[in-house]
């Protein structure tokens, strides 16, 4: 075998080794890095109007994601709750401007506004509806008012939680068309 032929074979082996090494690195990355094998799924959850209960100075509803197909499909692989939002209609049927807040809690049995304020977590503040008007809370408006995202996220991760809408003063209002949009991050 002449020198040129040996050099050609040597170069070929060198090239193949490099590409082989490259392939191994990629394979290791794919197998070892779980975040490379995850995705996000969106659950759009409707709270039926008849499931919204009027309490002592507040409205209350419970969200149970555990019965949703997407949740069931991914419940063992959920890494995180990537995003949560609420949309709803709030009608002010009284004569004064309505200002409201929304709280969330793992406790669905909070009996009055004092209990809600002391043990639940506020997530929306600054809701305002003129007398006789109806507010459609959109996603864009929701994110303008959202606070305590971290606590909300931890609560939603359990799959079940309650929300309480309260006003500083007793006022005539109607809460309806409540939807909860939850984005879960889970393994593929």
């Amino acid at each position: 075998m002449n020198r040129n032929k040996k050099k050609e074979i040597g170069d070929l082996i060198k090239k193949k080794s490099l590409w082989g090494l490259w392939g191994c690195i990629l394979l290791i990355l794919l197998v070892s890095s779980c975040f490379l094998t995850s995705g996000t799924w969106v659950i759009i959850y409707e709270v039926e109007n008849e499931d919204i209960q009027a309490g002592a100075g507040f409205y209350k509803f419970t969200v149970d994601l555990t019965e949703e197909d997407i949740w069931k499909d991914h419940k063992d692989d959920i890494d995180d709750i990537a995003d949560i939002s609420f949309t709803f209609k709030l009608a002010n049927t009284g004569d004064d401007t309505l200002t409201g807040r929304v709280y969330v809690s793992s406790d669905s049995a909070l009996a009055d506004t004092a209990a809600v304020k002391s043990s639940a977590t506020i997530i929306l503040d600054g809701i305002s509806v003129a007398p006789g008007a109806t507010l459609q809370m959109t996603l864009a408006h929701y994110y303008d008012l959202l606070q305590n995202f971290g606590t909300l996220k931890d609560l939603v991760k359990s799959g079940k939680f309650s929300a309480y809408a309260i006003t500083p003063n007793p006022i005539k209002m109607e809460l309806s068309d409540v939807w909860v949009v939850v984005t879960i991050s889970a393994g593929l």
Binding site: C34, L36, V42, D80, D83, T87, T138, W179, V181
Partner: protein, 184 residues
């Protein structure tokens, strides 16, 4: 991001100096394209742009510090018969890719594969900002119509870990121009 751009510029300048001193080949480039989210129902495709420098430390091996700014497109949801839009958010990424290039069989072009690590700042309205580690790998082709100018296309898979677990994976398709210091 405002602080990072001068740092990135300084790194590029330093690499250019090192490159000149060591006679390694060096290029700088800009690119733009589309950021396609993979397996993500909550965002849509968006635009990206970036800049990079490349040192060819060996004829087949390159090191490429890079900056990429990419957007996710807003996602529209049908919620109770109403169409509502959720902002997609942005990613600002600084990283280094390692390139394995085909040696100079093609006088006017070369293929390469890349593997890299990066730091990514994710911002989205309503979600806390987070800076997370990312990995990237992919492939590209650079065509050299002249000795100093390269036209490049690239497909890069960019995976970013998230603070609470899981991650976001994107396919970045881009095209751009490179300016080479010294003859290829």
């Amino acid at each position: 991001m405002k602080k990072s751009i001068p740092v990135f510029g300084a790194i590029l300048f330093l690499l250019m100096m090192v490159s000149t001193a060591s006679a390694a080949k060096f290029s700088i480039g800009g690119f733009a394209g589309v950021n396609i989210p993979l397996f993500q129902e909550d965002v849509k495709s968006g635009l990206l742009f970036g800049a990079k420098g490349r040192i060819a430390v060996l004829p087949f091996l390159g090191v490429e510090p890079n900056f990429v700014y990419s957007k996710y497109g807003d996602k529209d949801f049908d919620i109770g018969g109403l169409s509502m839009s959720r902002e997609g958010g942005t990613i600002t990424s600084f990283g280094v890719d390692l390139l394995l290039m085909t040696p100079g069989e093609f006088s006017r072009g070369r293929f390469y594969a890349l593997l890299g690590v990066n730091s990514n700042s994710l911002k989205r309205k309503g979600n806390p900002d987070q800076t997370q580690l990312g990995l990237s790998f992919g492939t590209g082709f650079e065509f050299l119509p002249t000795d100093i100018l390269g036209i490049e296309v690239r497909a890069r898979l960019h995976g970013i870990s998230l603070e609470g677990g899981g991650g976001r994976n994107n396919l970045e398709l881009s095209g751009g121009l490179n300016y080479h210091f010294g003859k290829q």
